[in-house]
Symmetry: C2
Subunit: 421 residues, 2 copies
């Protein structure tokens, strides 16, 4: 089964709002194993919308539209689609009663415009709206199924979850299974090169790589007569990828972030963490604290942007800064050591670097970064050279610190296991 | 002039990421007075992309594509567009040198894939990329101008700002002038209501509002025979908006962020700042540190996520936490006061709140936040109730803290001015 998404609205076309509806619907379709090869955005314009709809209807089995179901004259999605499908609009009594109730409850005055929202193509399945006035619509003719949804995400999302997804699930013959392998500490082109033979040979399952800052995500997707069968096809490919990337894989759970996987490592091993950030100025700690339950793990964070604060709070020696500079292996080491000592945390991470745009020299260019990690007294410092503008450099550094912390934790845990043996 | 936007990428089509590039480009086009009636999303597939591109090229003067310029075999935007435009790909020496340098600088090994990124359609204008490996491309034939941009927003945005927008401005026969008014501390619907008469009457200039977290941006755009003439039309409208929103307007400079305007206030008045973050865990300070030159202003930041660290480092009384809880007006006040006292900074900001998903009660629901600001010894605490998920709540809190700090600074400076008088 093939679907297409058409989002209707001048606000999207003008960039006033980001099209989160398309992403929500697309993710929903992917989860149902329904292919979607095109998304479009078009304004509230009868001829342009009609043209885009007809094109989509010619390619897909299901066309999902959002927006343009409002009460104003601008809103014409329903009218345009009904015309294109050769269907007449008729009043749906239940929808009209619900709209009247909606207004009564809020002590609002109904206008003539509002009745327009209760008209639906004859024979359509009506998706009643608990969160607004415009009902959704499933209209079917010999060629295509059109699903019309209201634009506000607060109305669209529950309507999708409660009514559209179950409907589509009942239609779909094929099943689909996909698994995500998330890798840190390897660039996209390296991951691609390492997977080239698998990617070249791909058919079912397919393999796709996604580059994130400091991470590469690999999605393996298979189709089959049942989800179980599709799962069976995915399994050996994921196993092979795991073999190739080993401990660089931080999760195979779609919903687990790099920071969540690091927090889990800390949590499971009952290790506390403290942080000392210069370059990133809180960004690294903020990523960790985005994980629920962070208060069990994060003892304290220092944002030591100035040299003075590095000395005062972390005990970095004045002579170290004088001799090597604040952006140096030695300073990162003392920051990590001092941070762990002062807070008595089991692990500490320190970041120092040159974010730019100023402050770079030939010897120490913008992007130069040192990250120090202390785990149970053992300290490791790594040097990096990140590219891009100030924010990009800071984001890359925060991601690299997560990867380095993870690596040090894994090494420390392996040692501990061996020493116990 | 008419433009269309095509975003290429399976990640968008599968809903893995939200299409922020389309919104950025669309907003940019609107600011340049270039009409855009269609946006499309298509996967990394030669025939489907070719078809969508040809259709767009048939309707528009300029087609802007993002994504699919990477080094992998999946990436084929350049190849497909060049074929559709009847253009041969040739190696661009400068781009290839830049890619080699990019890898050298990072001590990374070049793969054969990477050279592919240096090929461009013969005769194309090459948009060199300071933030990644893929150059952007402006390819022109008799029918259409195609502008190809890399997918990562960190590469696309600076390339748009520095190279594409000036290029498009030079193409357009008509002149446009647009000014941005950025407002903090007012919701979008309030801003719209306050501007309703101006928006209803709009023709030339036009007025568009854009909601951001904690901010509303209002763009006023006029067309005219010359930029000067367009500027003349914009001026009185911006003046009227300024009159209506007063000190809630933090800038009329497109490139100035809320954090930059706050840093400027601190800098100009030679005030230092310290921070104490619980809820936001470094996110607030990180936003300030994203502004170049932050080291002159930010004395120190505490990330006090645990109650113990609030007591230990900020001197919050145990009795305060026992009696009122860590998320309380009293605690926020002591955090701000303690933070200023310990660091001897002129100003201090403290954030405490419940980010969720757990930890909320009927009395103290998820989203409840207290922000304390101390400026030259005078402390103000404000209560907020933010909605949404954990990250949204934290982002809203960081934005609100910038707004509150700005407000307290303005009040303090006014008082100082008066007392000097």
């Amino acid at each position: 089964m093939k679907a297409e998404i058409i989002c209707v609205g001048t606000e999207i076309l003008m960039g006033n709002i980001v099209n989160t509806n398309a992403a929500y619907i697309a993710e929903g379709l992917a989860g149902l194993g329904i292919s979607c090869f095109y998304q479009s955005v078009v304004g509230d314009n009868d001829s342009r919308l009609g043209e885009v709809f007809k094109e989509a209807a010619g390619r897909a089995d299901v066309v999902i539209l959002s927006g343009g179901l409002g009460p104003t004259e601008d809103d014409l999605t329903k009218e345009t689609v009904a015309k294109a499908m050769g269907q007449e609009l008729v009043l749906d009594d239940k929808a009209w009663k619900q709209i009247q109730k909606f207004f009564e409850k809020r002590n609002l005055k109904l206008t003539d415009n509002n009745k327009k929202q209760a008209y639906v193509p004859r024979g359509a399945k009506v998706l009643y709206n608990k969160n607004g006035t415009a009902p959704g619509i499933i209209a079917i003719n010999d060629n295509v199924t059109a699903i019309l949804l209201p634009g506000p995400p607060g109305e669209l999302i529950p309507m999708w979850d409660d009514q559209v997804a179950p409907y589509l699930r009942s239609l779909s013959g094929e099943s689909f299974y996909s698994e995500m392998v998330k890798i840190c500490g390897s660039g996209e082109s390296f991951v691609e090169t390492d997977l080239k033979d698998l990617i070249d040979a791909q058919d079912n399952p397919t393999i796709a790589t996604y580059a994130k800052t400091g991470e590469v995500h690999v999605r393996v997707t298979a189709r089959g007569a049942s989800e179980k069968e599709a799962h069976k096809l995915v399994k050996p490919v994921v196993k092979e990828i795991k073999k190739r990337f080993g401990s660089k894989i931080f999760t195979t759970d779609e919903n687990v972030t790099l920071e969540a996987s690091v927090m889990q490592l800390l949590n499971e091993n009952k290790l506390t963490l403290a942080t000392a950030e210069s370059l990133t100025g809180g960004m690294f700690t903020s990523r960790l604290i985005s994980v629920p339950g962070a208060s069990e793990v994060i003892k304290f964070g220092f944002i030591t942007y100035s040299n003075k604060s590095k000395r005062k709070y972390l005990g970095v020696k004045r002579s170290t800064i004088d001799k090597y500079g604040a952006v140096s292996e030695q300073c990162a080491k003392e920051m990590a050591k001092g941070c762990a000592a002062v807070t008595k945390a089991d692990a500490a991470v320190a970041l120092t670097g040159i974010a730019g745009p100023d402050g770079g020299t030939d010897e120490k260019p913008v992007g130069l970064t040192y990250i120090g990690v202390s785990v149970l007294g053992k300290i490791k410092v790594k040097k990096y050279l990140f590219s891009g503008e100030r924010e990009k450099i800071r984001e890359s550094a925060a991601a690299a610190a997560l990867t380095l912390l993870r690596q040090c934790l894994l090494e420390s845990l392996t040692e501990r296991t061996f020493s116990v043996k």
